[in-house]
């Protein structure tokens, strides 16, 4: 190829992006003896990594035998969902469990840890290199391009994340549309670990995951979240991007600012200082976002780039799903290598393994949640109705209303019929 500088060194596998998907693939493959290179655009592994704040452990335990050394901040033992009709009041459901299945952490630290695992297994991580395209020989992906440089490999894993510049450049996907993604904006608020434990009533190593609906997103479909880290709080807002274009009138950062300064949260967030401000796009309509195939000749697509992220309404699962897809991509390459064939047909065991795995099973189970989310009722009408109910029950100076009367009156006030409310409730439960 003219003007291209083809590097002498060739790898068995080249991986685009040192995130959870790319590094988990690299770890597996390097362990199996594959000469593996991971190309990362950031200066350090983890320096571009950002997410909401909690990771589900089970898939990572399967991938990493020494999972115990992963940099956990707190194990989530408490879950809270709050509906905020306004910034002063909220209606909350609290859950306190015995077994924690997820933990809070900084993704920057977790990804760095995954990088160490991959390197210890023998993978090569090359930082400061943004991949710009795939390198093709006879229409088969046979390496990666960064500017003028070409790094050749037998097979490539795309783990570039949600902004799929490489897949776009190669014509596999079209640019993202607002209805396919959500925007997450987050502040990390730092204090002392004791301070976090006192404010949220947590014991050492114990964490809280808190979700807010309603006013917290300016009644835009999405959600707001608070996770307790070791000595900090991750506070953020997620809004579906197409709805945000119409709904968010002030600057989007104002949503986090309003949440941070909300009277309803005042007692929790005192004396914490902002230590980082970050933002990220989140796959939302994952079935439309998914590329036509997840395997092509010489190529496998993993993680956010493949749309493998679950929005369950009350929680997101992205990091563990990404990692697991990378791990399965690694397995598929191992099988294809044994056959001496990296064609799409040979690599398609990746798609079938994924189909049978927790990743696609969970995505299918929650398929209808996206429909419920898109219908704005959950974020505007219901919080107002519920708030009306609660106010009638708890703030009625003539004595509390009967719950049924309170619901009836609040529905009338918000011009919504009780029958509709019941049908919505039934539908919603059916979709979960």
């Amino acid at each position: 190829m003219e003007g291209m500088n083809i590097l002498d060194q060739k790898f068995d596998v080249a991986i685009v992006g040192a995130g959870p998907a790319g590094l988990s693939a690299a770890y597996y493959l390097a362990k199996k003896g594959f000469k593996t290179a991971v190309l990362e655009r950031g200066r350090e592994v983890g320096s571009k990594s950002i997410y909401g704040g909690r990771i589900y452990a089970a898939p990572l335990k399967e991938i990493y035998p020494n999972f115990n050394s992963i940099p956990v901040h707190r194990w989530v033992k408490r879950e809270r969902i709050s509906i905020m009709p306004d910034y002063e009041s909220m209606i909350s459901i609290d859950y306190q469990g015995k077994e924690a299945i997820s933990f809070t952490a900084y993704l920057t630290e977790v990804v760095k840890w995954m990088g160490i695992q991959a390197e210890s297994a023998g993978a090569t991580i090359i930082t400061d290199v943004p991949v710009t395209n795939f390198y093709k020989e006879n229409n088969k992906v046979s390496g990666v391009v960064s500017g003028e440089d070409v790094l050749r490999s037998d097979v490539v894993i795309d783990a570039e994340g949600v902004n799929r510049l490489v897949l776009e450049a190669s014509g596999i996907v079209k640019p993202l549309k607002p209805e396919l993604v959500a925007l997450g904006v987050k502040e990390v608020l730092k204090g002392e670990s004791k301070q976090i434990e006192d404010a949220f009533g947590l014991s050492q190593n114990e964490g809280l995951a808190w979700v807010f609906l309603g006013a917290a997103t300016a009644n835009t479909p999405g959600g707001a979240f608070l996770y307790t880290n070791r000595d900090s709080v991750s506070l953020g807002v997620v809004v579906l991007l197409d709805k945000a274009i119409a709904n968010v009138k002030d600057h989007v950062s104002q949503l986090v600012e309003s949440l941070r300064t909300a009277p309803a949260l005042k007692n929790y967030l005192q004396n914490l200082r902002i230590s980082e401000y970050s933002a990220h796009l989140i796959p939302e309509d994952v079935w439309s976002l998914r590329p036509e195939r997840l395997v092509y000749d010489g190529l496998l697509i993993t993680g956010d780039a493949a749309g493998l992220l679950l929005n369950a309404g009350y929680t997101y699962r992205g990091v563990d799903f990404a990692a697991y897809s990378g791990y399965l991509a690694g397995k598929a390459i191992e099988q294809a290598h044994a056959k001496g064939d990296y064609s799409a047909g040979s690599l398609s065991s990746y798609e079938s393994m994924l189909e049978e795995s927790i990743v696609i099973k969970e995505l299918k189970r929650f398929r209808k949640v996206h429909e419920v989310m898109k219908n704005g009722l959950l974020f505007e009408k219901y919080p107002k109705i519920m708030s009306g109910v609660m106010k009638r029950m708890f703030e009625n100076s003539d004595g509390p209303s009967k719950a049924w009367d309170a619901i009836n009156e609040s529905c009338k006030e918000n011009q919504y019929s009780m029958l509709k409310l019941l049908i919505d409730g039934y539908r919603m439960v059916r979709s979960l």
Binding site: P130, H251, E276, L281
Partner: protein
């Protein structure tokens, strides 16, 4: 009465971040296309406020960019040429 809540400006908030700003912008905006934009969604939705609306139209500065990709997705005019910063430049996250 409790003291009023201290409000922070976006510029103060994003100043806590660490960047290695590239000498050349990684995002290029075709301002001519912005003139007829019906939404100007970038002004409200770029999380770090890189886009501002002035008398003379949209003004873009790339220095505070956290590379999230929002502007490119919300732009209805296809006015934005969007790439990642070159070799290791741009945002450097530590606690996210």
């Amino acid at each position: 009465m409790s003291a009023p809540e201290r409000k922070l400006r976006l510029t103060d908030i994003i100043n806590v971040n660490i960047w290695d700003v590239d000498s050349k912008p990684h995002i290029v905006v075709n301002y001519d296309k912005c003139k007829n934009c019906p939404t100007k969604a970038c002004v409200r939705l770029c999380p770090t406020g890189c886009y501002t609306e002035t008398e003379n139209g949209i003004l873009f500065s790339y220095e505070g960019c956290v590379e999230c990709g929002t502007c490119r997705v919300v732009c209805p005019m296809e006015a934005i040429t969007w790439t990642f910063p070159k070799s290791g430049k741009g945002i450097f996250y530590r606690f996210s």
